[in-house]
């Protein structure tokens, strides 16, 4: 599997929360290329891939949804009001071209316009517009868009340099790519665990995807893959860097014993790793999974990412390789 290629097609695929099916179908196609696994899409739309093995039941989760837009109200002719799915900085939306999926299947294009500087006053220039101040200028197929149509950023992914990759939706497609690569690497072992790779829906609006799959599977250990802020200074926090390997979460929502085992394994097979302290809830699928059913031990493994929730997020391919290496060994050893 060529990671950059898989990442490119995952990033290009469009699947905001609630409308992930195109991404799910794409991942299912990729999974078909991997021998020794079986896949199923459940009644809510989550993709669950099973790799048989004898031992503990380990479930890995990566959410497939991305942030997006929803058309809410037609102002006049070609101008539409919109809202976001997930948290998006209004500054990241200005002057972007948005790709809109219409009911008929045609793609419409909209631009979030910015008033020319010449026409702005001193006062306007100092304010950042909020979502209530913005609108979409639908330049094409304007008669075919309706309220409720979804939109995504239209940025094209590409290799920024030989190891750095950029594009939209790398939160959380980079984790999806990591899980796919892990599945491929797992073929080199006879794993001492029964593992489930869950490509779930709807993390951005409160995890009904991950939690409900965890409920059904009732795994002995759940490992959530998500992204975390990389290459930026956050007060009181260690600096997590791209290229330095996965960030392992530690805190109340993480099972301490499994954390120590994963960390120990990373050290013994020379996988670089970083530590991410979590004082309470992590803000990822981990939180709900941990308290599902009678309680499930959880781990959070995050890939460092720059510029989260903007149209050009950045990751380092090396982190994908190292994380997959660590996870495949961990599963092969049954989580020991």
């Amino acid at each position: 599997m060529i990671i950059a290629d898989v990442l490119r097609s995952l990033s290009s695929a469009d699947g905001p929360s609630g409308y992930e099916y195109r991404v799910i179908n794409l991942i299912e196609e990729e999974v078909k290329k991997i021998p020794g696994v079986s896949a199923e899409i459940d009644h809510l739309g989550n993709l669950i891939v099973k790799k048989s093995g004898q031992g503990k039941k380990i479930a890995l989760f990566a959410h497939t949804d991305e942030i997006g837009f929803l058309l809410t109200k037609k102002e006049s002719d070609n101008y539409w009001r919109f809202t976001t799915i997930g948290g998006i900085d209004p500054k990241a939306v200005i002057s972007q071209r948005i790709k809109i999926y219409t009911r008929s299947g045609d793609i419409a294009w909209g631009i979030v316009g910015m008033l020319e500087p010449h026409l702005q006053t001193e006062e306007t220039r100092r304010k950042v517009p909020s979502l209530d101040d913005l609108f979409l200028d639908i330049i094409d197929c304007q008669d075919r868009v309706n309220a409720g149509d979804i939109g995504v950023f239209s940025t094209e992914p590409f290799l920024l340099s030989d190891r750095y990759f950029t594009g939209k939706a790398l939160d959380n497609r980079v984790s999806c790519a990591t899980l796919l690569y892990t599945l491929e690497l797992l073929n080199n072992f006879i794993p001492k665990a029964e593992s489930y790779f869950v490509f779930n829906i709807r993390e951005e609006d409160g995890s009904p995807g991950a939690k409900t799959v965890a409920y059904r599977l009732k795994p002995d250990l759940a490992i959530v893959l998500d992204v975390t802020h990389g290459d930026i200074s956050i007060p009181s926090m260690p600096k997590i860097e791209l290229g330095k390997g996965p960030a392992l979460g530690i805190g109340p929502v993480i099972d301490y014993n499994y954390f120590e085992r994963l960390k120990g394994l990373a050290e013994s097979i020379s996988v670089n790793y970083q530590i991410e302290p979590l004082g309470g809830r992590s803000g990822t699928d981990t939180d709900l999974i941990q308290i599902t059913r009678g309680g499930i031990p959880t781990l959070l493994v995050s890939l460092p990412l720059r510029y989260m929730h903007t149209p050009y997020e950045v990751v380092n391919i090396r982190d994908i390789e190292e994380t997959a290496r660590l996870l495949s060994y961990f599963i092969a050893r049954g989580g020991e």
Partner: protein, 336 residues
Amino acid sequence: MYLKDLTELFGVSGYEKKVREYIREKIKDRVNFIEEDPLGNLIAMKKGRVDKRLLICAHMDEVGFMISNIEDDGRLSIIPIGGVDPRAIIGKKVIIGEKEMPGIIGFKAIHLQRDEIYEPPKMENIKVDIGVTKKSEAENKVKIGDFVAFSVESKSNERWFSGKALDDRCGCSILMDIIHSDIDLYYDTYFVFSVQEEIGLRGAGVSAERIAPDLAIVIETTTSGDNPEFPSDRRSTELGKGPAITFAHSGYVVDERLFRWIIDVARENGIPYQIKRRTVGGTDARRIATTLAGIPSAVVSVPARYIHSPMSIINLEDYSNTLKLVSILLTKEARL
């Protein structure tokens, strides 16, 4: 009464081990069944006269911090675990990690502060000092992810008890007293010493799912507000007026039948009681009630001053009246 021992132990949310082990040691020979679930909740059962189940719980965890980074000068950055008020933590002794390494939370001398004197300190400016000058020295003693707990000695006389973590070691002590007494339990009674209540009511619901009780009573330590700076008409409870019985709090209106039953039992047995006036704050009752197919739940609390700070106070008569009331409740059939 186990208040002295319990309040002096360290059990920040997610790191309740020492409290759990102490309680387990003290009660294991007095119960029919004892186990620890995957989240760390301690569950002990004492058989009753009928085949139905009652869950009674108190949470073991207290608010505190976690080491989030080790700075170059050897001081430790911390992030809060639970709702700690940053204005109440300056000039306190703390204990770090399993090895119980001592440290202090220092702050800039008043002489050197100008406008900042009346500004609430920001967590990012609060550091723990363990008496080293270099990062490498610190790394030999502590690590990121270690918990940081207040270290406070308790003080008491016949009427008053002061110390840290009265929320909810009071509840834990009451449960332990009941286990040690020889009361004739009506229901098969499941004593749950829960975890992670302070970071979002995370532990108790998980136990409730495993136990599937017919009803539940939460024993908490609650806010009062009875001090001269706080208007009497906005107080929650008053010390010395007896156990506080809750009719509603954040996210849940207590089952009306249970509420009325508890009050009637208090009246019939001449036990002083008060009705908790304010609906602020939440308890594990919300989580337990919304578990499985629904579990009617009630809340009985010991009133306390200054909870969530490192120094709180309770009235020991309130403690014994709460113990008396709950003991009697457990011998009866609830009026559901």
